[in-house]
């Protein structure tokens, strides 16, 4: 219960903090930030790697790709991916979805996250 509250609070706080920068992210800079993700995530449809393909992510629920082995935590998370929820998640993945499988500590800078999301909006289409 306490954990759940902390997660929700953290999500709200980061969302509020992040929103202004996030709205005007720079997609070109975001492409460079995607280096953080590219060792495990591809953008082509069906190209699952260590992480699931990000193609079409903004039309999906978390844990939805049939042939990717998600953690139970991610499947249960109930997240519907949108630019906002993804931004919240990558801020601190383990606090938003505890026990998820992604070995990534998070992207600390709100500006970097905004740039990355701006890039992914088109690149995942």
């Amino acid at each position: 219960m306490i954990d759940a509250m902390r997660v929700t609070l953290a999500s709200i706080v980061t969302l509020l903090l992040a929103w202004p920068a996030f709205a005007d992210g720079d997609a070109a800079r975001g492409e460079a930030k995607f280096q953080d993700c590219a060792a495990c995530h591809r953008l082509e449809a069906g190209a699952n790697n260590v992480g699931p393909s990000l193609h079409g992510i903004f039309a999906r629920k978390a844990g939805e790709i049939a042939d990717f082995r998600y953690s139970p935590a991610m499947k249960r998370s109930g997240i519907v991916w949108s630019p906002e929820t993804l931004e919240t998640f990558i801020t601190d993945p383990q606090s938003v979805v505890p026990a998820n499988r992604m070995p990534y500590a998070g992207m600390a800078s709100a500006g970097d996250r905004a740039d990355l999301i701006a890039y992914l909006r088109n690149a995942t289409k």
């Binding site: 280096q35 953080d36 590219a38 699952n48 260590v50 953690s71 499988r101 070995p103 990534y104």
Partner: protein, 591 residues
């Protein structure tokens, strides 16, 4: 019943770093290449991802990525007077046995060995006189120079995503790097890893003592990276599961996520896993090899794979074994000191202290494979005068951690009972408070340290096991005393609450506990066929279309980890084959 297959241009035995590099380079040059790997196919996405990879029982205790000793192992003895017995369980060293080989489970430490090693005999004789070298110390020059290898070191470092700080760029000493390294053309591809408390404390203590600490260069990507071939690395997450594990974040430079997938995408390349090579076949005149025979270990089927060029790229020990089993070159005889195959087997030595600091929290569960600071003042520093200490070679000293596993790593002050409630109290109290200072030392070749075929024991294929005869000699003992004293001197200046001091090892070498997977020699490179098995291009003096690649080519062992020169020499050999041998097959160096 052996099925004879269609001839290919190149057959590669073993697909780790060296096999992977050669497979990529030679397929890109248009050659048709088949790789035979005895292990299973493994990948980051299906095998090394979270949470399953963090399994100490599977990977550390049961050796999931390592050679299966039920099929083949070695027999071991300390000297020719003993009867060698089979090593039935891996211990002191851990050869890999999967696609990617030991390059999957290594820590990533990547060094450039220098002319101090490549010209070892010339250097010592020139400075200290011929009498300084004991009669039974069979060290010899390698026949290659640092200058020749520099571009290939560079290539390997950029392929494997080595993080570090240059100490010498083009002759200019760079602050914060290793001032004793040989000049490099440019810096490492990535900045050093984030230091940890233990490496910072060691750095301060070593600097205060007048030494030259620097962050250890390691193929753990300190930030996301795309290598020149387009392979993508994640940034190291300091997860603590490095040595003996595949990397969960694709941050450790490994062949299975760099050179091998590039070769796999090339239609010129074919990989056959579970394929155990039993013999290299010689032509009737003995001047060439014609291919290899192998067994599919899933069903026992035997095949002959003819090839124009044969490359032995298995683990260092197994390359030598195949040469002996195939009768290529003259086996080494330590009594007559004739022959070359099996000669100059070397290992490494060391000493370590554990320091306990009440009130400090080292978080030993969080670090990279290369989370160390190192000093080379007693290693590549040629100004360090060995004469008063009477030893040849050197040792590097590091402070930090390398995969101190949450279950397996249990530092307690000496004198603590090894089990029971008192041990439990001690391990809970001291786990967080301990750090290690460790010396890794060279081992010089000795005429009696060698390999041959065992007269008694056989493997699952009915072939003789390889016999290893090895022990440390006086040279290594003297160096061990020097290293232990040095470590203890530094440790005392740090004022630990308790200290388990370093001591020089004087016991004979044994197969337990784990020491290092740095076995070298057996098919050594050199300047002439009397003293060496291979020329400087790692080409057999006996059969010009056979190349043997790996640490088995090192004529002696330095204090450094071997993968830097192993990778560089693989690229060097690839160039020699592509640019010279294929155009004009024959000996690349006149005998």
């Amino acid at each position: 019943m052996t099925t004879k297959l269609k001839e290919v241009d190149v057959v590669i035995v073993g697909l780790g770093w060296t096999g992977g590099i050669l497979a990529k380079e030679l397929t890109e040059a248009g050659l048709k290449v088949v790789a035979l790997e005895r292990g299973s196919p493994r990948s980051s996405e299906s095998d090394y991802s979270l949470p399953n990879i963090r399994d100490e029982l599977r990977y550390v205790v049961r050796h999931d990525l390592m050679q299966n000793t039920a099929r083949d192992t070695i027999t071991v003895r300390n000297n020719p007077q003993q009867e060698a017995l089979p090593m039935r369980r891996l211990g002191s060293f851990l050869p890999g046995e999967v696609v990617g080989g030991s390059g999957v489970h290594w820590s990533g430490h990547t060094w450039r060995w220098t002319d101090m090693e490549f010209k070892v005999r010339s250097n010592y004789e020139e400075r200290y006189g011929k009498k300084f070298l004991p009669d039974d110390m069979t060290i010899q020059d390698w026949g290659i120079s640092y200058a020749e290898l520099e571009p290939y070191y560079d290539k390997f470092e950029y392929t494997a995503a080595v993080s570090g700080k240059a100490g010498n760029i083009g002759g200019q000493i760079m602050a914060g790097g290793n001032p004793f390294e040989a000049p490099r053309k440019r810096d490492y591809p990535l900045p050093p890893l984030t230091p940890i408390l233990a490496s910072e404390m060691f750095t301060d203590a070593a600097r205060n003592a007048g030494y030259h600490p620097f962050p250890r260069p390691s193929a753990n990507a300190s930030q996301p990276y795309t290598n020149p071939d387009g392979a993508k690395f994640g940034g190291c997450q300091y997860c603590g599961y490095c040595q003996r594990f595949g990397c969960e974040a694709n941050a450790k430079g490994s062949p299975h996520m760099t050179v091998i997938p590039i070769a796999m995408r090339n239609p010129n390349f074919e990989l056959r896993t579970h394929s155990w090579v039993t013999r290299v076949l010689k032509d009737s005149d003995g001047k060439r090899v014609t291919g290899v025979t192998y067994t599919n270990i899933n069903n026992g089927e035997e095949f002959e794979q003819p090839a124009t060029i044969v490359l032995l790229c298995a683990y260092a020990i197994n390359n030598v074994h195949l040469m002996l089993l195939s009768g290529i070159g003259t086996p080494y005889d330590p009594v007559a000191q004739k022959g070359v195959i099996g000669k100059n087997y070397c290992y490494q030595t060391g000493a370590a202290a554990t320091l306990f600091f009440e009130g400090k929290y080292f978080n030993p569960f969080m670090n990279a494979g290369g989370s160390n600071a190192t000093i080379d003042d007693f290693n590549t520093n040629w100004a360090f005068d060995r004469a008063p200490h009477n030893f040849v070679g050197g040792y590097n000293v590091s402070g930090g951690f390398n995969t101190p596993l949450p279950i397996g790593y249990r530092p307690v002050p000496s004198g603590t009972p090894q089990w029971g409630s008192e041990w439990k109290r001690a391990t809970a109290k001291w786990y967080q408070t301990a750090m290690v200072i460790n010396a890794s030392g060279s081992v010089m070749a000795n005429r009696y340290n060698c390999y041959d075929l065992d007269p008694t024991y056989r493997n699952a294929f009915g072939q003789p096991l390889m016999r290893m005869t090895f022990d440390y000699k006086e040279n290594e003992h003297r160096m061990g005393v020097h290293a232990a004293n040095l470590i203890n001197d530094i440790a005392k200046t740090m004022n630990p609450t308790k200290l388990n001091p370093a001591s020089a090892r004087t016991d004979p070498w044994t197969v337990v506990p784990y020491q290092s997977t740095h076995n070298t020699g057996g098919t050594i490179m050199g300047t002439n066929p009397r003293d060496s098995a291979l020329n400087k291009y790692l080409q057999s003096w006996d059969c010009h279309n056979l190349f043997v690649v790996g640490a088995n080519v090192f004529p002696h062992n330095s204090s450094y980890n071997p993968t830097g020169p192993v990778g560089a020499l693989a690229y060097w050999t690839a160039d020699a084959i592509k640019n010279r041998y294929v155009k004009n097959p024959g000996p690349l160096v006149p005998a």
